[in-house]
């Protein structure tokens, strides 16, 4: 069962320094955060589409296509309930359908979709090792970084064992979709217990193996992986600074707002 989004393509985005990739994710969040207007959100969306094409990340976007659609739709609907401003266009109970609430809702929906797209691009082009290296560079303690990377490594193992148990129970005629929502949650008890016990059996051996290899002996352990800073990293960094600054200016000048309110 494929769970990771990483796609190994070797493009220049894939080869960027991990710290630049983490910074790129931050700049995308920053840029999207400052503006509300769907039109102002378009340029950063186009940049993401361009990067998706460049890095061949389309399979991941296709995989999450429904999530994107549902996210925009439910966010628009939700804000039409809670954002009760502007002249009402159509009388619908509970909802406040006005030009303002529609623009605001659609803007929020696109905003969330762009945040999701930024994270999909990040995960499509960044390995777990690079992510944990990036964490160490921003001074996250080694033991915390190690726990995060170990957790990432263990997830596929536990998912595999959970899926095997689900299949085994289904073969015995156990129906996970029977009953109402609460009953359906309760039916996962026979799955979770064996996965849990299997995981606990590993814990003791894992701790002993780690200590036998000198885990915790040094606060700054050595590493085989080295990420040199290249001219491409500096260029990408400068571009990202420009993009972040541009979006802050859009907010500052009021061009990123929705109509006369800002």
């Amino acid at each position: 069962m494929p769970i990771y989004l990483y796609i190994d393509r070797g493009t220049f985005v894939h080869r960027l320094h991990p710290t630049v990739k983490v910074f790129a994710l931050f700049v995308m969040f920053w840029s999207v955060y400052w503006v509300d207007n769907p039109i102002a959100l378009a340029p950063v969306g186009l940049v993401m589409l361009w990067i998706a094409q460049l890095t061949d990340s389309w399979p991941n976007f296709y995989r999450l296509r429904w999530l994107f659609a549902i996210l925009v739709f439910t966010t628009t609907i939700a804000w039409m309930v809670f954002y009760r401003r502007g002249a009402v266009l159509v009388n619908v109970p509970i909802f406040h359908v006005s030009r303002l609430s529609l623009v605001f809702g659609v803007g929020r929906g696109i905003k969330l979709a762009e945040l999701l797209a930024a994270s999909v691009l990040f995960l499509s082009t960044t390995k777990i090792e690079e992510f944990t290296y990036g964490l160490q560079r921003i001074r996250v303690p080694y033991r915390v970084g190690f726990a995060i990377s170990l957790s990432f490594r263990l997830v596929p193992l536990f998912i595999d064992s959970a899926v095997t148990i689900v299949d085994a129970q289904r073969l015995r005629g156990y129906d996970f979709n029977e009953g109402g929502p609460i009953e359906r949650v309760r039916r996962y008890v026979p799955v979770v217990i064996p996965v849990f016990m299997g995981a606990l059996r590993k814990a003791n051996n894992m701790a002993m193996a780690l200590e036998a290899r000198g885990f915790g002996f040094s606060h700054e352990p050595t590493t085989f992986i080295d990420y040199p800073v290249t001219p491409a990293d500096i260029t990408a960094f400068a571009f990202l600074i420009g993009l972040g600054a541009l979006y802050f200016m859009l907010y500052w000048t009021g061009l990123g707002g929705i109509g006369p309110l800002k």
């Binding site: 769970i3 990771y4 989004l5 994710l25 969040f29 999450l64 999530l67 549902i70 996210l71 739709f73 439910t74 966010t75 939700a78 809670f82 954002y83 009760r84 401003r85 929020r108 905003k111 969330l112 945040l115 999701l116 994270s119 999909v120 990040f122 303690p141 915390v144 726990a147 995060i148 170990l150 957790s151 990432f152 490594r153 263990l154 997830v155 193992l157 536990f158 998912i159 899926v163 929502p181 609460i182 359906r184 949650v185 309760r186 996962y188 008890v189 799955v191 979770v192 217990i193 996965v195 849990f196 016990m197 995981a199 606990l200 814990a203 894992m206 701790a207 780690l210 200590e211 915790g216």
Partner: protein
């Protein structure tokens, strides 16, 4: 608070943290049972894991819950609100055993007495409400989603798993873990509890803070209450500023209480 820091010195606790996180993410990613708000949240059996792990592994489960949720977010997309989601899930895994240490009085969490069940519900509810408050507050302040929408759904979601799934898993797992001397009290005996009076005061602050945050978060984000002391230009949808100004201190109060426990 010292338990959250001290656990990183213990290799076994680091491993238990990674296992709690991986278990949470492993059940979170493939098993999403019923969508509550499509694209936002769904009824998920994984929410039972942090509660179970909390009673078993204490502080390791708190970090495990935070990391596990972060891994789950990585498979479905991250947003700025997920930084707060990290701390909200830290609280979700941290509160049950802290509250149980205070109100459980040495009782086993798998006790089936009416009082034992009531204490268990209080511990889970305290954890769920603070988790929901923090995520709801952050999303409303960042104008991603309204507090009233997310805050209540998270409480419901967490409580369903904690009440419907966790007791069964705990009943099956707790005796075995205890026999194997893998409970956090066995793995980390060096952690000493604070005096009962301080912990009880902390618990009172926690309840007052999270209860206040939940009530005012709902009133403000739906526009039912427009405080007079806040300028009129702030008291408009999406109510991000009133929620930030009024709900924020209650959440801080709740965390201050939690740190005292």
């Amino acid at each position: 608070m010292s338990d959250l820091r001290l656990m990183w010195r213990n290799t076994r606790m680091v491993v238990l943290c990674a296992i709690s996180a991986a278990l949470y993410a492993a059940v979170l990613v493939p098993f999403k049972v019923v969508p509550l708000i499509p694209g936002v949240t769904e009824l998920r059996p994984a929410n039972a894991i942090p509660v179970v792990c909390s009673f078993l592994f204490g502080p390791a489960a708190a970090w495990g819950s935070a990391i596990g949720n972060m891994i789950g977010d990585f498979f479905g997309g991250v947003s700025p609100g997920d930084i707060f989601g990290f701390f909200a899930n830290l609280a979700y895994g941290w509160i049950p055993y802290k509250v149980w240490e205070l109100i459980g009085r040495g009782q086993s969490p798998i006790s089936r007495s009416p009082l034992g069940i009531l204490k268990y519900v209080i511990a889970c509810l305290a954890a769920s409400v603070l988790c929901a408050d923090l995520v709801g507050w952050a999303d409303n302040v960042l104008v991603i989603r309204p507090f009233a929408m997310l805050g209540n759904v998270i409480i419901f979601n967490n409580m369903v798993s904690a009440l419907v799934l966790s007791p069964f898993i705990l009943a099956a797992v707790y005796p075995r873990v205890k026999k194997g001397r893998m409970l956090y009290t066995d793995v980390m005996p060096e952690v000493k509890l604070k005096p009962v009076g301080i912990r009880a005061f902390g618990f009172a602050l926690l309840i007052a803070g999270e209860g206040g945050a939940w009530i005012f978060g709902n009133l403000l984000s739906t526009g039912y209450w427009a405080p007079k002391f806040i300028p009129a230009w702030m008291n408009v949808a999406p109510y991000d500023k009133p929620v930030a100004i009024i709900v924020g201190p209650f959440i801080l109060l709740a965390f201050a209480g939690l740190f005292m426990m």
